[in-house]
Structures are given as C-alpha cells and as structure tokens.
Amino acid sequence: MAQVPYIAAPSVPTINTFLNHDFRISSWLLTKDHKRIAILFMLSITLFFIIGGAAAALMRINLAAPNGWLVRSETYNKLFTAHGVIMVWFFLIPSIPTVLGNFLLPLMIGARDLAFPRLNLASWYLFITGGIITLAALVLGGVDTGWTFYTPYSSSFSNTYVILTVFGIFISGFSSILTGLNFIVTVHQLRCPGLTWFRLPLFVWGLYATSIILVLATPVLAMTLALVGIERIWHMGIFDATHGGDPLLFQHMFWFYSHPAVYIMILPAMAVESELITCFSRKAPFGYGFIAFSSIAIAVLGFLVWAHHMFVAGISVYSGLVFSFLSMIVAVPSAIKVFNWTATLYKGSIALQTPMLYALGFIGLFTIGGLTGVMLATLGIDMHVHDTYFIIAHFHYIMVGGSVMAYLGGIHFWWPKITGRMYSDWWGRISAIIIFMGFNLTFFPQFILGYLGMPRRYHTYPPDFQFWNILSSAGASILAFGYLLPLIYLPISLRYGARAGKNPWRAAGLEWTTQSPPIEINFETIPIVTGPAYDYPRVLTETQSGQS
C-alpha cells in the first residue's frame, strides 16, 4: 500500500529547496544551514550506529555459548567498550538533538536558523573529530575499560588506548555543549512573534530541558575524563588509593555527568513522542503543562540521583538512603508523561501509521525499562542485581526500546519534511513490528539472567545461564534484521517515493506550514502565531480544504 499524500502534490517540477540550491561538496562541508548540518549529523551517527551495532552483534554471537567460543576475552572486553562508547556518545546522545532538533527547532519556532549557525557547524566538526579519534583508538587496538572508565583500572592498570579514547570523548563533549548552548539561546531569542512559551510545541520544551543538561553536565564529564588522562600520563594518584587518592571520587564525578546523560538520551525521545502521539490521534496532548514541566523537572532532579549507580560500591549507607529516595522522586515526572500520553489517545482519531507504531512501542518499552529502573533504585534489590544483566536489560529497554524507537519514529515522521518524499508505509510498519518483536526477545531474557545473577561484561559464563543467552542472541539477529530494513527502504524512497507535499500527516506545527523540503531560509516571511499549539480542529479543517 503506497502512501497517498493527503494533499495532492502540486506539480512543481523544480522547486527550490535547501537541498538543491547548491550541489558542491563545499556547500555541504561549509554550510551554516541548520538543515544541512542536521543531515551531516544524520549520516555520521548512522555510521556510528552500524559500527556499534556490529560490535553488539559480535558480542551476542559470542555469548550464544558459555565458553567464549568466538573471540578471546581481551577482544570481548574491547567489543563491549567500543559498543558502549560509540552507542552512547557517538550515536544516542547526539541522535535526536542534533538530527531532528537541529532540523526542526528553527522551523518549529519560526526562525531562519539557530542562534549561532557557525557554532552549529563547529559542533559537527568537533563531533566528527572526536569520533575519528575514538575510531582511531579502536582501530589501533581498542580500549577495554567499559564505557564507564572506572578507576583505578582505567587510570593505572589497563594497557589499551585509554587516553586516545578519552580524548575523543572529551572533544565530542564540546560538540554537545555547543549544541545545548545554541538551542538554549535560540529558544530564548528567536521565537517568532506571538509564539509564547505555552504555545511552544512540546518537542521544543523537551529539547530545552535536554540542552540544560547538555550544558551543565557535559563539562563535568570532560574534566573528569581529562583527569583520567592526566593520571595515566603522570601517575598522579588522584583516583589511586595507594597514593592517597580515592577511586570512588571518579565514580562520583562520572555519574554526576552520566546519570543526567541518560536523561539527555530520553528527554528528546519523550519530546518526539509527544509530537507523534498528538499527530496520530489528532488531538492536543492531554495535560500540556504537565508534560512540559515534567521535562524540566526531570532535567533538574536528574542531577540529584547519581550515586544510585554506587549503592554497593562502598559509599556510606546514609548517602545510599538519600540517593535511593531521590531516585524514586525523579521517577514521578516520567510517570506523569506516560499517563498523559496514554490519556491523549482517549477519544482520538488514531491511525497506526509507521511513526505511530514506533510511538506506541516506545510507551510500552519505556514503561518496562522505567519500572525496572525503579527496582534498581530500591536499595534491597540493587544489592543483588547491581552489575548483572538486569542492568543491561533495564537500560536497553529504555535506550533501545525507548530512545532508538523514538528516534526512528521521529525520522519516519519528519522524513517527508526533510526529504520531500514518502517512504513505503507498508515496509515501515513491517520493520517497526519486527524491531519490536526482536527487541523483546533480545532483552527480556536478560532480566531473568540478571536476577539469576549473571554478571555483565562476562566473556564466558556458567553454563546454567545458556538457555536465556541463546534466546537473547536469537532475538538480536531478528533485531538487526529489523534495523536493516529502514536502511534500505528509506534511501529507496529518496528516488522512488511519492512527493510529500507540505503536510502529509495533517499535523499541527509551524514546520508543516513550510514547503517540503523547506527552502534555505525556512520561511519567506517570518510567521506570526496567534493560537495555541496542537490546535487540531483548526488544522484539520484548514487542511481539508486543501489550503494548509
């Protein structure tokens, strides 16, 4: 079933778009257009996703048997480190903000670009430089510390390319900071006339909350990793007990960044989610204010809970109690969101097109991931399952089942806007379903493995655990197949897809009032906003008469 655009694409053979006004390579590599930079980011993170995914595939194949039959333990350790580092810093953290955020933020607030277009380009270059350095470290021989770089292993014992990797992450950290800074200033300064805070799309709220974390947490990571590098070079002993330092100090600093960082990965996903759910049920979100403020609440409270990763690491029992309690509190705003999305469906006009399938999958999987997160925040349970596959399952449910699903949903939703073409909805839905199935088969068994006690980062394991591992590996191959499909049908749509028209989904939002793909300066004239966001009755009546 080919997608029939709702607005018959007017026969405009050569419309002028941001894509076709200049074809030279330099016009891409030196572009200051946020839309082109978004596409540069999209291509780069896709590459990183494939590399990280390949590492995951090798790991899963190895874990199909308990004896570590495929790779040696050194290699396995390098695989999961590469997988974690790449997936976190070079795929998921940049994913939604730099691709969808970059592309859509100015369009959604009626601006011609981000506040600092040159910084935006610099951000991509920093990202790519950091990425290349990290990849170089992998090619030269890899790192085996895990993505968490725990000292003193990383600072004194590992003899792999820690410094190079850490340096790559350090550089790409500045990319994050610049993106966050750019978004914050853009939202404050460049909203078009009439676009008050409470008329903003929820996507913008989510990105704003994300940016706050990017700006305030990333420097902590940068400095902490710099200290690890310094320790390695000069054997300083800040994190080394034999010199009077303290290995737990590193963990405090690392998680002060990395817990907020997990919200960097989920807040934009939630932001996408809010757009998808409203569009495909053609209703304003239930509890706009609650969803908007819960984003900010998550961003702020997220900074208060970091030591829940350290419950059994030797922190004081008192701080264990405090951090457990605070972690429970931070789960409340997430709960608010889940319930509000579900309530938005009520009495809607629901269409299960590809983006919506991803969106619904997101709610379910995020809920499972989140609820298991609350289990981990419960002290009595964490002291059994800490650093087991239960953790692995928890965060893959949120990060893969949640964030990656939302990213894919967002890509499918805005693909017509970005490229001006419709993809095959049939293939889209098939792949969404395959990914959902494959995902659950991969990661649900890991909860059981975790409760059984299988530690993470194990290259070999006691044979009792094999059954669940085989299920998980089987699931992973289905999952990989599912991910393969969009990599095929989306590029195909660029050539063969139907033209999309301005607003194929009949969605609300300023970005849908522009041409698809937009022109270079987004809007011929800066729009003026007169009503609230998500005014679906109006949008639907307008688009009905074909005038949008």
Binding site: Y6, S281, R282, V317, K347, L360, G364, P455, F467
Partner: protein, 353 residues
C-alpha cells in the same frame, strides 16, 4: 544446555527477603505494564480512525486525574523505598560478631584466610546457620564479591577494608562471581561458596592442616619486620589498641579499627599519634595485603587495656600474644562498634586509605 531456571537458588537469610521485595515490585510493575499496554490497545481499537475527516473532540483539563497519577505512583514508591532501605541497612551494617574471614581480591582470583589459619583460593567453606563476616580488600583494581544465591554483593576496593556479612541457610555449593569489571579475565574470577552443616564443617576443618593462624603469622612478621624493635620501647604499645580511642597529633580522635591499623602500618605519617615523633617507616609496598591482614589480626589479639602513660614513661612490657582463637572459628574479642561512638547504621567501607 543445563535446564531453564527463573530464580536463583536461595540460601541465605537475606535471600528470601530480597525475593519477597522483588516479587512485590514485580507485581506492581506487572499491573502497570499490563494496565498501560491494555489501555493503549483498547484505545487504538476503540478510537481507530474511521474517516479521514473526523475531528476528535477537544479534551478538557483534568487536574484531579493528573494529581492522582502523580501521587499514586509516588506513594507506591515510598513503600518500595522504605522496604528496600530496611533490607539494605540490615545487610550492609557491619556485624559485631560472627566468623571473621579475610578476603583479598586480586586480578583474577579470591584469596581467602580463615581466622584459624586455613587458607583457600576461590573457595570459601562456611558453616550453615552461623553469621559470617567478610572483611574484603583488593590488591589492585576494584572487584566485586557477588553471591547470587545469597542475594548479596559488595564492591571490593583497593586500599581499604569493606565488610559484608551473611548467614547461609542451606548446605550446598554456590557461585561467587566477580561482578565489577576488573580486566581481561574478569569473567574467570569466579569461585564457590561451600556451605556445610556445622558437623561437616568441623570435619572439613579437621581434615585440613592449617598454616599459621593469621594472628600467629602476624606475630612472626611483627618480629621479622622489626616492629617489635620500636613498639614497646620508643613507640606506643599496641596492646589493647584495637577499637580504642586514639588522640592524634592534629587533635582529632580516631577509633582504632582495622582500617586505621592498616593505614598506620602502610602509611604512618598520615596520622601521627599525639606525643610521638613521626619516625615509623612506611611499609607500603613492603607488606602484601595478606601480611597486613595477619599483622592486624595479631594486633587485635593483644588484649591488655591500654596504658595511658605519657611518652617517655616506662614502656609497657610487650604482652604475649594470645594464642589461637577458640575452635569453631570464633575470634574471641570482637566487641566492635559500641553504639555510642558509632551511630547506626555504620558505613560498610568504614574508611578508605
């Protein structure tokens, strides 16, 4: 493939408590997950788009609903928090009695010393029904002593002592799995806890020729490393030192627990006892973690009440170390942590070097 199991064996007093809490949260999670999935499926069917032109009604605000689903989960989470906190505090507060076992983790094995001198590697024999207190440290990186069948784990840090206790409830063999990534052979850093009925345990001990008990070994070290040359003469007597209050040169007061003793030996200049010159050499690097354990066991066995004489007064005669701990592995004199000085709950990792 070795069968399919959903829940690990349960063999300690903590295990069933953790399981109960887990089941409780699992039930709540299941209710929410099923509820949310159910609602979504129902809505998508019930409100499926029937015509391209339908315009859904605008939904009014519903503050009561919002407040309900904010406070509801929050209250549930409070229950989880308190329940979990209870368990955690019980499991992590140091035990003041029980069979004390020293464990040194190093890449990639566990070295275990029993109080009566029995040593094991990657195997830990314990009697059922008796509390066992582990004092753990690492020689290199961070490890984690995980005992899934007991539902307990504790990170093992270099340069400091952490404690963890458990009481086995069922005889059997249970995994020890190093759960903190520690390098190449992290996944091979596994071992077994062998829980035995008290009678079997006694038989096992009888069948093993113990090396020197840690305290006795420590006594020898005390002489070979020259400690006895100073202590009792120019340096403070160590008798009765363990768990006493010490005044330091900088005016602070310290309880002389294991960690303090360790640091006094490894790095004496960090904390100087009031009234003495900082002349003691640092033994860092000279003594292995195991030897440190032995020296400390020896110092702990020196029971005499501390003399409060000023420096320069006649030194105490060095009392003879008490002999082996009573059979049954009970160290005799561990009256740690009088509640007055140590607020409850006490931190497991009492201090880090």
């Amino acid at each position: 493939m070795n069968g399919i199991s959903f829940v690990p064996e349960s063999a300690s007093t903590t295990a069933s408590r953790v399981d109960n809490l887990f089941l409780f949260e699992l039930a709540i999670a299941a209710i929410f997950v099923i509820g949310i999935f159910g609602t979504i499926i129902y809505f998508t069917i019930r409100y499926a788009r029937r015509s391209e032109n339908e315009i859904p009604p605008v939904q009014p605000k519903h503050t009561t609903l919002e407040v309900t689903w904010t406070l509801g989960p929050f209250c549930l989470m409070l229950i989880m928090f308190f329940w979990g906190a209870r368990l955690y505090v019980d499991a992590k507060k140091p035990l003041d009695h029980g069979l004390e076992i020293n464990i040194v983790g190093k890449q990639w094995m566990w070295k275990i010393q029993h109080p009566d001198g029995i040593r094991e590697i990657n195997e830990l024999h314990v009697p059922v029904g008796e509390p066992v207190k582990l004092i753990l440290t690492s020689e290199d990186v961070i490890h984690d002593f995980a005992m899934p069948a007991f539902r307990l784990k504790q990170d093992v840090l270099p340069g400091c002592y952490v404690t963890q206790w458990f009481t086995a409830t069922r005889p059997g063999k249970y995994d020890i799995l190093c759960s903190q990534y520690c390098g190449t052979d992290h996944s091979k850093m596994v071992g077994q806890i062998i829980a035995l009925q008290p009678s079997d345990y006694a038989a096992w001990r009888a069948g093993i020729v113990p090396t020197d008990a840690p305290a006795a070994a420590g006594q020898k070290l005390f002489v070979t490393y020259g400690c006895s040359g100073c202590h009792g003469q120019r340096a403070p007597s160590l008798a009765g030192l363990y768990n006493s209050q010490q005044l330091m040169q900088d005016g602070s007061v310290i309880t002389a627990d294991e960690s303090y003793l360790r640091k006094s030996i490894v790095d004496p200049s960090a904390q100087i006892v009031a009234g003495y010159p900082p002349m003691m050499p640092a033994y860092k690097g000279t003594l292995s973690e195991e030897q440190l354990f032995q020296l400390i066991s020896y110092i702990k066995s020196l029971e005499t009440v501390r003399n409060t004489a000023a420096p320069g007064a006649l030194p105490d005669p060095l009392p003879a170390p008490s002999t082996q701990p009573a059979p049954g592995g009970q160290p005799k004199e561990i009256h740690n942590f009088p509640p007055a000085e140590r607020p409850y709950p006490v931190n497991p990792s009492s201090f880090r070097n």
